[in-house]
């Protein structure tokens, strides 16, 4: 199995460089100097001349042709969803947006997010039009060796975040626009293209409320109201005035336009903006494909070869001769340089062994401390900052804290947006269990190669009286199933501070699981911590069983060790520190030296947590005896100590299981 894994690694190494983005084998056309900066500013809008208008129309039609051609060539994709946005994309990329087409990640570029990710072919067609992609590459999109996937992913330089799960783009755009306005204090704008179907997603309205609350006047949303969803018309059909009313009620300036009129689009996009602006574009799904225009049953359907050819001929005939070539305007270069490398704590943790402090509080103090010496460390929360202790960061760095209110999905999207293009090191916190609300956003963050850091407090039964609604008992399961995730589960304040520092420097999605009750400091301030390195907290030569716990249960294990010592039973106690990756080697070595006996104890459900992680790590080790303690049912309200007893994850349960394990192995002899 390992070999197989290596084979694929090698395969990637071979195939990787073949991708067009990394080969950079294209000649990008450079923006002629005479055109740079000569673009109209928003305040002095003039109607574009007829040549420009025609050129933009021509581009729109070429985008249609390429979208149809590509989807027919590969037999897959959503040409009708591309055709409704052809004029919008043309005007955005060749008239409105300011960016360097040869330098996709330039921090000064305007940002673009295709929230309706299934229209990927039209985005790729834009980059063919610009000259970055070859038409032949477009014609092999979605194939196993192409970096042009069915929905946009950051395998392409011009994609900041993956889309394809609907309703997530605007939240990410909010994070980018917030960064531009408040952190970068720069003039780049953020453009997000949404479909009408995805307007049913609540996440869109969370983002809408966020954008107006923070007056993100550098954010423009374009709503492609093409009337038809996947299996039915979208609920509001072509009632553009209803969309307008909803947008306005959520604090946006909303302009209704004919989405196929290049002039109307140019004008609307050039209007001065004093608040977030929505362009509600009434469009026709399948525009330009006569049999499919405004018709049900064409979502995600490609045209037959013959039909495609006749349609493309027809569209081609509408492309009028125009000598005018369109160039995107260059951006204003006012985004500050940012380096997120090697972000370190200025000093060692300042805790004394035995001191009592909750890991959730240690988290707040650690992020505040990290922020003291790193201007690009930012934090956010969902109106739980007094629980997660992120308010400690807020109090110290008010300008770098974003209150996201009770909207967990949007917070994760905002975090992803803030972290895009390596502008910020982001720490977003909430109660552990409420990250379940944003699991789709987290899943997409992995596909987006995002480096966001999340902290979930109040995990497990230790939340006590509030009851099961507030107890995170499945968070490790869901974060373990994120392929790019690192899961820190620190057990004292020292290791929490180290976890925060490591998270800031670890690629991928990092999750820090913290606990509400106070626990004793067990590590020295100079203790070294690494991702994937467990600590042996308690050991002797006479150890008979290895017990692995984390957070509260590590302290229960230590208490059990004390208790058992009186009976002359010695146990080894391991703190895994990171649950993913798990330090299999340390665990296996120590379990071997306790004659293969191992117990895990966790404040989490049985499935997908610490126990199963250990199970996966030690599988196939001969002669191991493995027992697990975890929460088996939906729990209830009560004092933490009572709950730990009832659900069998307290010191007594551990001690009892150790005794049982020893007596049964004695019987076996």
């Amino acid at each position: 199995m390992f070999k197989k894994h290596i084979i694929f690694q090698i395969l990637y190494i071979i195939v990787g460089p073949l991708c067009p983005a990394s080969l950079k084998r294209f000649v990008f056309y450079k923006v002629p100097p005479q055109l740079q900066g000569s673009y109209l500013s928003m305040e002095d809008y003039h109607k574009p001349d007829q040549q420009t208008v025609q050129a933009l129309r021509n581009i729109a039609n070429r985008l249609r042709i390429n979208s149809i051609k590509a989807t027919t060539a590969v037999g897959n994709g959503h040409p009708t969803s591309c055709c409704s946005v052809a004029e919008i994309m043309s005007v955005l990329f060749f008239h409105t947006m300011k960016y360097r087409p040869d330098d996709h990640k330039n921090p000064n570029n305007d940002r673009f997010i295709l929230s309706k990710g299934h229209a990927a072919p039209v985005l790729y067609s834009v980059w063919v039009e610009i000259g970055f992609l070859k038409e032949s590459e477009l014609m092999s999109m979605c194939q196993v060796d192409s970096t042009l996937e069915g929905h946009p992913t950051p395998k392409q330089q011009f994609v900041d975040v993956a889309t394809g799960s609907l309703g997530q783009g605007l939240g990410v755009a909010c994070g980018m626009a917030y960064t531009a306005k408040y952190f970068d204090k720069s003039s780049y704008h953020v453009y997000c293209l949404l479909g009408d179907g995805e307007m049913s997603e609540g996440a869109v309205w969370e983002a809408m409320a966020f954008a107006s609350y923070y007056q993100l006047d550098n954010l423009l949303a374009i709503l492609d109201i093409n009337r038809l969803g996947q299996s039915d018309p979208a609920p509001l059909q072509h009632h553009v005035e209803k969309y307008q009313r909803r947008c306005e009620a959520f604090g946006w300036h909303a302009i209704i336009v004919d989405g196929h009129s290049v002039e109307e689009l140019c004008k609307a996009m050039s209007q001065p903006r004093h608040q977030p602006t929505a362009i509600i574009a009434k469009t026709i799904k399948g525009k330009g494909i006569p049999v499919a225009e405004d018709k049900m049953g064409w979502h995600g359907k490609v045209l037959s070869k013959d039909m495609a050819e006749s349609v493309m001929r027809d569209i081609q005939s509408r492309i009028l001769n125009s000598n005018k070539r369109m160039y995107p305007a260059s951006p204003i270069e006012d985004a500050p340089p940012v380096s997120l490398r090697n972000v370190r704590m200025p000093s060692a943790p300042n805790y004394k062994p035995g001191e009592k402090i909750a890991t959730c509080k240690a988290y707040g103090m650690a992020v505040a401390k990290l922020g003291r010496y790193n201007e690009r460390v930012v934090a956010m929360d969902v109106d739980t900052k007094n629980f997660t202790c992120s308010e400690i960061f807020k109090n110290e760095h008010p300008n770098r804290f974003i209150e996201c209110y009770s909207a967990e999905q949007n917070m994760v999207s905002v975090a992803t947006g803030c972290a895009a293009r390596e502008r910020n090191i982001v720490f977003a916190s909430g109660l552990a269990t409420f990250f379940t609300r944003a699991y789709d956003q987290l899943r997409m963050a992995a596909i987006s190669d995002s480096n966001i850091n999340l902290c979930g407090s109040h995990c497990g039964l230790s939340d006590g009286e509030d009851g099961p609604a507030h107890m995170g008992l499945e968070d490790m399961a869901i974060f373990r199933a994120i392929p790019t995730a690192t899961i820190f589960y620190p057990s004292d304040a020292v290791s929490t501070e180290k976890a925060v520092e490591l998270a800031a420097n670890t690629k991928g999605v990092c999750y820090v699981r913290t606990t509400r009750p106070e626990t004793a400091i067990i590590y020295n301030s100079n203790e070294d911590f690494h991702v994937g390195q467990a600590k042996v907290v308690c050991q002797s030569k006479e150890d008979q069983v290895t017990v692995i716990g984390a957070g509260m249960t590590l302290h229960e294990a230590l208490a059990a060790a004390e208790q058992l010592k009186k009976e002359r039973i010695h146990i080894r106690v391991i703190d895994p520190f990171t649950i993913k990756p798990l330090d299999a080697k340390t665990i296996i070595d120590h379990v071997r030296s306790t004659r293969g006996r191992v117990i895990t104890v966790e404040d989490h459900y049985y499935e997908g947590g610490l126990g199963e992680a250990v199970c996966s790590a030690i599988v196939n080790e001969p002669g191991f005896t493995f027992q697990r303690l975890a929460v088996a049912h939906v729990p209830r309200s009560g004092k933490m100590s009572d709950l730990f007893k009832i659900y069998g994850i307290d010191r007594d349960s551990i001690a009892q299981l150790v005794r049982k394990m020893l007596s049964s192995s004695a019987n076996a002899k």
């Binding site: 199995m1 894994h5 694929f8 395969l11 897959n76 994709g77 979605c142 069915g150 929905h151 992913t153 799960s165 049913s200 609540g202 869109v204 409320a209 969803g229 996947q230 299996s231 039915d232 009313r245 909803r246 929360d381 109106d383 739980t384 629980f387 308010e391 209150e403 209110y405 009770s406 909207a407 409420f434 379940t436 699991y439 789709d440 899943r443 596909i447 009286e465 509030d466 009851g467 099961p468 507030h470 499945e474 399961a477 869901i478 373990r480 199933a481 392929p483 499935e607 199963e612 992680a613 199970c615 996966s616 599988v619 001969p622 939906v634 209830r636 309200s637 009560g638 004092k639 009572d642």
Partner: protein, 625 residues
């Protein structure tokens, strides 16, 4: 009909009850030394008027199907809900003081351990969606006169799921639904974003199609009037946007910061209570709720069985997602209680087969997965319906908080996720469910079905309809061969041994497309004289440990699992957990180990090492070792 103002005595009695509810809330939270008395006090008049003037219900029979429904979406105000039922006579006043104790059902947030709670709340923004499901059921399935009232906080109006529910309620003209917004200005850690900006709340509710009234939430007369008008309004749901003060009636605490979730200090409680007592004019005037119209039949709890066996022949090719649509339609034929819903993917999940046959029992929920799950939960409360909600499996990730809460709600909702794994092909990773098994396995009340052909899919649907707790059925996009006889019997927690001989050397466990890959590997290896045993677990949770252990033993302890899912939390780990302490068993796991990509299904199965080819290689490796 015109509105008649309640007489002065009634109004005073309602005011008195409001203050009694405040007093109870203070006492309860003082006794537990935790809880949210200030969030209770803002809603005191609202609760008084709802429970003792507006709502129709039998106070001694809270789950009566004809009762009006009440959902406390702002679940942290639980103490006032318990107080209202104490005033109504259903629970003893003395019991209130056991709030949040380990042996009391009066938990920190409401759960259905209490007869007057239909769905657990406490994760904000979920109540209105469940209320929509109840209201839809009342109006369109039960065609009954009961009404649904949902009390929300202002903080939770930031949750997108609230606006999904708002859009749903107006789209389906749920005029039997009233949303009450307790706009008390203050959230947990600071003021809610719209503070007391009542106009903005009003505009938002109106823009989302609600008949909207802005009222003084502490004026019982205004509340009586607005709720009366709500009942008269046809064709639209109503929102009562109530301006209130957090901690209303508590001197020095009302409308102040930093009182969220804090009980009254012991030394001040008595004074605060005395102050409230002094405002009560007739402490002993009891008000009784109005009784409901009894126009709802008792729930039918008889099992629902397929009327005919599956009509597939071994070797027929079809996808399990399509088999789901066919099965659901047949279940709909078998019982009028079966209802279905989808998130605008019905032509992909094939729930449209049900819709065509039973259009009156299908709810299009559009692209709002959180709300769809809430609506499904709402429809299933009080056993009014057996609901099946379908979407791409990946998008249930969107509703995971709702699914988690459904377990706490003891819901029997059935969820069906299509398009699992890399086998969907070209659409790419955003559409591929590779963490759904991990998600659903970590739901304590969940049964996870992963059928591998048309026959077993049909039986999975039948079993799900009759299985308590949450059921999840994972279906696949590609066409696969029917491998079971139409008469084959299936049970929850019972695996099938699909291939076996006396000389089997390895046990392969696969499900869905990977079971078919395993069968292909079996045939290939058989030609080389190597026999392998192939097991279809059918349900991943519970997993049939005894069949797996027996097979593993029979094949020299060699086991290979293969799954179209990430390595964490899926079939492989379920098998490891099941094998637990069994000595001498060696398990190899084939699963997707990184974020996948677009490509043709078969290419991706190869690339991510879960195809027949990979299985054959893995089998050979077990011998090499």
């Amino acid at each position: 009909m015109s509105y008649h103002k309640p007489d002065e005595k009634t109004l005073q009695a309602l005011k008195d009850i409001a203050n009694k509810l405040r007093i109870h809330s203070i006492k309860e939270t003082c006794a537990s030394n935790s809880g949210h008395p200030t969030s209770c006090c803002s809603a005191a008049e609202l609760m008084s008027v709802l429970f003792f003037h507006t709502m129709r219900y039998k106070a001694n029979d809270p789950r009566n199907p004809s009762n009006d429904r009440f959902i406390l979406s702002k679940g942290h105000a639980a103490p006032i809900l318990y107080a209202a039922w104490a005033e109504a006579g259903f629970i003893k006043e003395s019991e209130l003081l056991n709030l949040r104790k380990i042996d009391s059902d009066l938990e920190g947030h409401p759960t259905p351990k209490l007869a007057f709670v239909d769905v657990a709340t406490g994760s904000l923004g979920q109540g209105l969606g469940a209320a929509c499901g109840m209201a839809y059921t009342g109006k369109y399935f039960d065609k009954a006169s009961y009404r649904v009232y949902c009390m929300m906080g202002d903080g939770e109006c930031s949750e997108g799921s609230v606006w999904e529910a708002m859009a749903f309620a107006s789209y389906y003209n749920l005029d039997n639904l009233v949303a009450i917004l307790d706009v008390n200005r203050l959230g947990q850690s600071e003021a809610a974003p719209l503070q007391h900006n009542m106009d903005t709340y009003k505009e938002r509710c109106k823009a989302f199609g609600f008949n909207t009234y802005v009222v003084d939430g502490h004026d019982v007369e205004e509340l009586c009037k607005a709720l009366w008008h709500a009942e008269q309004t046809k064709g639209k749901p109503t929102a009562i946007v109530a301006k209130t003060f957090k901690g209303k009636g508590l001197k020095g605490i009302e409308d102040q910061d930093n009182w969220h979730g804090k009980p009254m200090p012991k030394d001040r409680a008595e004074e605060l209570i005395n102050d409230l007592l002094s405002q009560i004019q007739s402490p002993n005037k009891p008000l009784h709720p109005q009784l409901p119209n009894e126009d709802v039949a008792l729930a039918d709890l008889t099992p629902i069985r397929l009327l005919t066996a599956p009509e597939y022949k071994i070797g027929d090719k079809m996808s399990t997602r399509k088999a789901y649509g066919v099965a659901l339609k047949k279940m709909g034929d078998a019982s009028p209680r079966v209802v279905a819903m989808d998130g605008d993917t019905k032509n992909s999940t094939f729930s449209d087969i049900f819709k065509k046959a039973h259009p009156d029992r299908f709810i299009e929920c559009f692209i709002a997965e959180q709300n769809m799950v809430s609506v499904a939960i709402g429809c299933a409360t009080r056993d009014r319906t057996v609901s099946f909600a379908s979407a791409f499996a990946a998008f249930f990730a969107r509703a995971y908080d709702h699914i988690r809460m459904a377990a706490i709600s003891q819901s029997n909702v059935n969820l069906v996720g299509s398009h699992c794994g890399v086998s969907i092909g070209e659409d790419g990773p955003s559409q591929m469910a590779l963490e759904d098994l991990a998600m659903f396995r970590a739901i304590p009340t969940c049964t996870v079905f992963y059928p591998s052909d048309g026959v077993s899919t049909e039986r999975a649907v039948e079993l799900a309809a009759n299985t308590k707790g949450i059921c999840f059925i994972r279906t696949s996009r590609p066409d696969t061969a029917v491998i079971y006889d139409a008469g084959e019997k299936f049970e929850v927690g019972k695996a099938k041994v699909v291939r076996q001989s006396d000389k089997d050397q390895v046990t392969i466990i696969g499900a869905g497309v990977t079971l078919h890959e395993a069968l292909a590997a079996h045939d290939q290896l058989a030609k080389e004289g190597v026999n392998i045993r192939v097991i279809d677990p059918f349900t991943i949770k519970p997993l049939d440990a005894s069949t797996i252990v027996a097979s593993a033993r029979a094949t020299g302890g060699k086991v290979i699992t293969v799954e179209d899912h990430y390595k964490d939390g899926g079939l492989g780990e379920a098998v490891l957990s099941a094998l637990g302490e069994e000595p001498g068993i060696v398990v190899h796991r084939l699963a997707v180990s990184c974020v996948p990509r677009s490509g043709k299904p078969q290419e991706l199965l190869d690339m991510f090492g879960i195809s027949a080819k990979s299985i054959v290689a893995a089998v050979r490796r077990t011998f090499a070792n």
